[in-house]
């Protein structure tokens, strides 16, 4: 696999599309343990991203990812804006001036994203946040090299399991933490949106490879 800038933009547009499709679902998840805006926030952000990157086909991959991050920071708001924004900005930094990415950039990108989220949100795994989907995926990607489509599938599966796992635990960070025990039994909106994004990337690359 090799992904050039134009293809990176396509992948990000696919993320935007899937977030859009899941807007109501994410908002509904946020109704149960938050304030019913996660889908609205994310969809607003990725609509802006869509526009912003449409003319960046000639830019390097790092710039594109950083632009995604900055756009999310300045349009999403709430908790998810700074978190996903920082994640994409860090990913962009990690990638640098590359004009093409391959499978082995994936753990680097996602690890940088994860570190960004942890720095910004001061959360750890097991606190019912984005991290519960992202960290297991990163762990899978980092466990063997070179990375291939199978490992990627496994990583997405690990993110999905992470989302499942959030149902059983108490929220310790974010708005859902105010609920205490009552947060148990509900799936975390942020972990879910993270899984949706990872799944979109996998789907894009998988379709491209076939």
């Amino acid at each position: 696999m090799a992904v050039n800038s134009a293809e990176l933009i396509e992948i990000i547009n696919l993320i935007a599309h899937d977030i859009q499709e899941n807007k109501d679902f994410l908002t509904e998840l946020d109704s149960a343990i938050g304030d019913a805006d996660h889908g609205i926030n994310m969809s607003k952000g990725f609509k802006a991203v869509n526009e912003k990157i449409s003319t960046m086909g000639d830019k390097d991959c790092g710039s594109i990812l950083k632009t995604v991050g900055m756009t999310l920071v300045s349009t999403v708001g709430g908790a998810s804006g700074p978190l996903y924004g920082t994640a994409f900005m860090r990913a962009g930094q990690a990638v640098g001036a590359k004009k093409e990415l391959d499978f082995n950039d994936l753990p680097i990108i996602l690890d940088a994203a994860l570190e960004g989220i942890k720095m910004r949100g001061k959360a750890e795994k097991g606190e019912k946040t984005i991290i519960d989907a992202l960290e297991p995926a990163v762990e899978v990607l980092k466990k063997s090299s070179p990375v291939d489509i199978k490992l990627m599938e496994e990583a997405v599966k690990a993110a999905k399991d992470g989302v499942e796992y959030t149902k059983g635990i108490i929220a310790k960070k974010g708005r859902a933490s105010y609920l205490g025990e009552r947060s148990i039994g509900h799936q975390d909106p942020g972990a879910t949106s993270c899984y949706i994004m990872l799944a979109a990337v996998y789907k894009a690359i998988h379709d491209k490879n076939n």
Binding site: T27, G77, G78, G81, P82, K172, R175, L179, G180
Partner: protein, 332 residues
Amino acid sequence: MKKIINNPENVVQEMLEGMVAAYPQYVRKLDGFDVIVRANAPVKGKVALVSGGGSGHEPSHAGFVGKGMLDAGVAGAVFTSPTPDQVFEAIKAVDGGAGVLLIIKNYTGDVMNFEMAGEMAEAEGIKVASVLVNDDVAVEDSLYTTGRRGIAGTVFVHKIAGAKAEAGGTLEDVKAVAEKVIKNTRSMGMALTPCIVPAAGKPTFTLAEDEMEIGMGIHGEPGTKRTHIMKADELVDHLMDKIINDIPYKSGDEVAVMINGLGATPLMEQFIMNRRVSQILKEKGISVYKTFVGEFMTSIEMAGASITLLKLDDELKQLLDAQADTPALRQL
């Protein structure tokens, strides 16, 4: 959804336009940003106060922009913290050279967005400090969680820190007194009905005709428990019990009281609550120095109310009594 609006996507923008049209003597809006600042901002040499958060809490925060309180109110989308660049613009617009205090309600989103804005401002050489308001005793406090939410008690921080800044306090002074207020403020609320975020079009949750939610968040987040609907006195007893025992407030203390309507609850009911609050405080030997009844930190059109107590000392009393002249809170 029964609302007097045009397009749900434009509510914040149109609200701010309507507000500026109503109060040009007090405020203006920054072009291209959802930021309300004092008409005469920046005030040279005065520490500037910036607060904000998701919209839907009106008159918070822009309603408290004016003499003796805030210099800027930043309005996010409904129930969504504003983005860092909005807050950054606010900071730049109100900095009068003496530094800027950010008054942040303790929500993950608010904290992160304001922090990032603070970093941006510091990178431009503006002195920035911040305080986190976390008065809601409904939420368990713990080192291992996000801690408590900031709710209506935030308005006491605006009032008192604003008075300190107006009196010529340094950024350190203003921050210190804001922290003193935070340390001495506790609140708790309840809801009888949910509210509707315009963009969502339907209520976040539902409550049966005989149910109420105790410890409700101001974003319509679920509270700590759901119970049968109680009589006003019983309800107030319950909330006051939680609030008083938290600090705790003790016999001999002097307090300011705030009864804060969440939106749809009329003054009639707020006064009925205050009646019981004042009875309880009297029984406990806690004296009421000053009382505020009305809508200060709402949740759109939610029915319900919160109670806030602030323990006072001489400094706080004097600052609480200081003149204020803003659209939503005035004191001669």
